[in-house]
Chain length 184, copies 2
DNA sequence: AGTGATATATATCATTTTGATATAGAAACA
DNA sequence: TGTTTCTATATCAAAATGATATATATCACT
């Protein structure tokens, strides 16, 4: 599954421009899927070429033209086919955990700073997820509600683990550094 | 931070071939960083060119030559510099959650199958993480112990959430489908 | 003795994605 | 008045992905 499929997916709800698709990803999908202009615009161009979406240029008086994309019947079929044949995958790429793994190469203050920044980022994410839940008057699809609940549970667990264990990590590393100094 | 930095990092522990680096990633880093041959071999070539690792060809009698890579002093400095200047990031790309978000486009049986497959994958991952913990006689670095604990906590939370909520999701979707049929 | 599966080991490559940047008028704000 | 933010599209070098090719060796089965 690639960004093309995601674009088809969000277009099932309503017609959107590339810019709006990007915003939609940021608002609703940010904790489990990231896509930038560099993948969205080429995806839309390719989908148009293949007749899976149609594109209408909307002239605007005071702004550049909008290109509003709509899902075609062929696009809807392609989307369902793609969803049916996609094996469930879930990938994490954590530069934060890489930094923690090599923490013994860094000063203690830096490790503390890194962990605190990560916790702060997760706090922001949790606040935005709770915002989604608060706004929901039944307007969220059941699948999106499931994904939001997932985000809250798992991000909460991540935040709690790091907050609870960072001090132990830093202490252990400081002890080992002292032991190594004594050996020299 | 890219695969190059990770390669420098694992080479702080011992000299390794590209093949061994890949295996090391799979064994120890698999739940938070993935890298294939297509990124590791070019990374090692570039690091060699820049003098950050050195490469020794080891002739083997019954197998193709090994290229064993070692970290140079310049490579160690470059690694520390990179770690010090990398902001903590943590990115998830979940095709599984995308499938859940568009669950209303799929038959109930398919949703159940997808969720069960994801839970099974996470069970495997948890078993391999617990294997790491069981083997640990103090041989794990404190940072790696932190990362392993993180993996256990967060993967466990993810597995529990999906196992606990998939039936509710499927029921809701089936109800909505029935309501829609009645409206037609 | 043969078959298939798995392990060691390096490498390539088309396609995709990333992350940053360019362009440009409008609105909001200080 | 100047600065930032918003709307909107687009491009691009660098990086990563995921699959595949190439060889040899070993190991378990039949």
């Amino acid at each position: 599954m690639d960004v093309k499929t995601l674009c088809l997916g969000v277009l099932t709800e309503r017609d959107l421009t590339g810019y709006e698709i990007k915003r939609h990803f940021e608002e609703a999908f940010c904790h489990f899927f990231v896509a930038g202009y560099g993948s969205i615009y080429p995806a839309l161009a390719d989908l148009t070429r293949r007749g899976l979406v149609s594109c209408t240029s909307v002239l605007q008086e005071k702004r550049p033209d909008k290109k509003v994309y709509s899902l075609t019947p062929a696009g809807r079929e392609a989307l369902i086919g793609e969803l049916m044949s996609t094996p469930p995958r879930h990938k994490v790429r954590s530069e934060f955990l890489v930094l923690m793994v090599f923490a013994h190469l860094l000063p203690a203050a830096k490790i503390a700073q890194i962990a605190d920044e990560m916790v702060a980022q997760w706090d922001e994410l949790l606040a935005s997820i709770d915002g989604c839940v608060a706004e929901d008057d039944g307007c969220l699809s059941p699948g999106m509600r499931f994904a939001v609940g997932y985000g809250r549970a798992v991000t909460g667990a991540a935040r709690a683990y790091v907050a609870d264990n960072k001090d132990r990590l830093i202490e252990t590393i400081e002890k080992e550094a002292v032991a190594k100094d004594a050996a020299d």
